[in-house]
Amino acid sequence: MLREVAGQCANPVLLFSGGKDSVCLLRLAEMAFRPARFPFPLLHVDTGHNYPEVVAFRDRRAAELGERLLVRSVEDSIREGKVVLGHPLEPRNKHQSVTLLDAIAEFGFDACIGGARRDEEKARAKERVFSFRDEFGQWDPKNQRPELWSLYNARIRRGENIRAFPISNWTELDVWQYIARERLALPSIYFAHRRLVVRRAGAMVPVTEVTPSRPGDLVEEVSVRFRTVGDITCTAPVESSATTVEEIVVETATTTVTERGATRLDDQTSDASMEQRKKEGYF
């Protein structure tokens, strides 16, 4: 699939956040293109609310691979007045769309390769592997190209965009099994560590600068790990003692709560919130 993007698109980019799904994408890109360099740069849309361990890992991994890493930040979009926050500490995930679309325009990217998976959320179950977006980055679920066999159609007009999802058909367990098999390095916060948290509405909220504890909160130190690493304000850890990938594979195979259900505080707003964000240009 990565080679199909490279073969059909003039100027693609691979979205790399340092998260586990995009770590798998980088490995697949190595498998697809080595010993040559990747025929595309890497891009991270930084919300400014990322865990420092993840940002450091992102930079280290790109350097090890010797590939070009571009970073564009939501902070800049806020400064330029393109993003207006309702509240200074509100989750910035939805604002990534603005910064991403600006980066697409700045570099003239015609395809963005991302690590989204269909099993993550109901609205993603119908996403194409090659998803067509109009010039505003919008996803129209009723106007998607049929995908037959493995014959992908990435033809677009100027200004339009293809989002390609090579690990569309992987589940969370597949991702962890792949990381185990390929012995891929990950940011340290994916593994169990002790962290100060407070419990709110059934989820654990880490105590950080942007998510401070409130008066009356019971702050506990718990052994936790992250199942997803996004914006700090909306990514919650789970209790865990798994310190190796193999232990995480076992926990994932026996878990009783969905990846986003336990850990994404922003998707719970409404049953259709992911669909809404995707229509606005989100991944």
Binding site: R3, P35, L148, N153, I156, D174, Y178, V257, G261
Partner: protein, 425 residues
Amino acid sequence: MISAAEQLSAPLDLGLLRFLTCGSVDDGKSTLIGRLLVDTRSVLADALSAIERTSKRRGHAGVDLSLLTDGLSAEREQGITIDVAYRYFSTGRRKYIIADAPGHEQYTRNMVTAGSTAHLAVVLVDARKGVLTQTRRHACIAHQLGIPHLVVAVNKMDLVGWSEQVFDRIQADALAVAARLGIEDVRFIPMSALAGDMVVERGDHLGWWHGPTLLEVLERTPAAHVEGAEPFRFPVQWVCRPHSEAHHDFRGFAGRVESGGVAVGDEVQVLPSGRTSRVKAIWLGDVALREAVGEQSVLLQLEDEVDVSRGDLLVRPAEAPAPVREVEAMLCWLAERPLSLVRRYLVRHTTREIRAQVTGIAWRLDLTALEQVPAEGLAMNDLGRVSLRLAQPIAADRYAEVRATGAFIVIDEASNDTVAAGMIL
């Protein structure tokens, strides 16, 4: 060096089965998928409690399992499924991908899309209604797409008093349809997705049924890449030329083994040019392989400096298909704007794009009567036999023999849309 078999023990390759579910409106297809997911414990607690709340709010007696699969809010408003959705579950023995195709008449295109990658099709029949036009249509499309295994799930047995006679009559009717279509592998299972009988668990109501449950059939269906010896087919996706110090003269051809296999030292031919060479090395990432087999994405190096580019096909000389500029094909039209016999389209076949024109329509398949009828054109959801003329030759196989090199899509350059799916005859 490691063998190809060792490489294939990847988590994603190990016995993966992709199957398609299709049925008419209200056959209980979403409930069946929900049942499969719940009874194989693939639905996690929070997702289950979310649909329990919704079921209660809507005043359902039990948990409405169909809510697990009806994803988009547009669909939830209408209460129907309008696009192909993909679901995942695993049993410990095997991983599954379900392509859930909606049942409406106007969605033949969705079923073709979902079926193009499926290895088994589950066709649902409502036990109260028996074999309908829709059932015939689904069986026919599954057959046209070359899906090797067909399962007829006779659902809602609870609503016909779990009657063996009702099931026997439906089985006889469906067997007649299968015989007429020439379908060889067809199985029948009586079930109630609502109550759960014969989906994953055997249940208490169908004691007279001694055949397997649906899950047992799924678990025993052979995986795609273990069936039969096929000719080696390797469409080149990308030419790897690092131009680096360490790999100054390196030239590798990247692609996926779509059929058969190849080993170091084998003679290969480049199509359409016809030049031959031998395989010098096979790379899977930085690991050198002795051989590559079906579905592996690898990099091939050849002994000689032959000209190879994206869109070319590597084969064995003895098994080489003759490049042709005229093909006969079954075409399923997917777009709202009907097929035009005066316009030129783009055909994407393997990794190659060629201009093409449809020069004639032999017949259209009437999916109600299952008969070939004369046709002036093809409109959305029509399936017909056509002749195509291509601007450049392609190395093609019959779809019935090799899916990957027998399939193509048609693209309308005006809209860039994929407007048809084609299967070479």
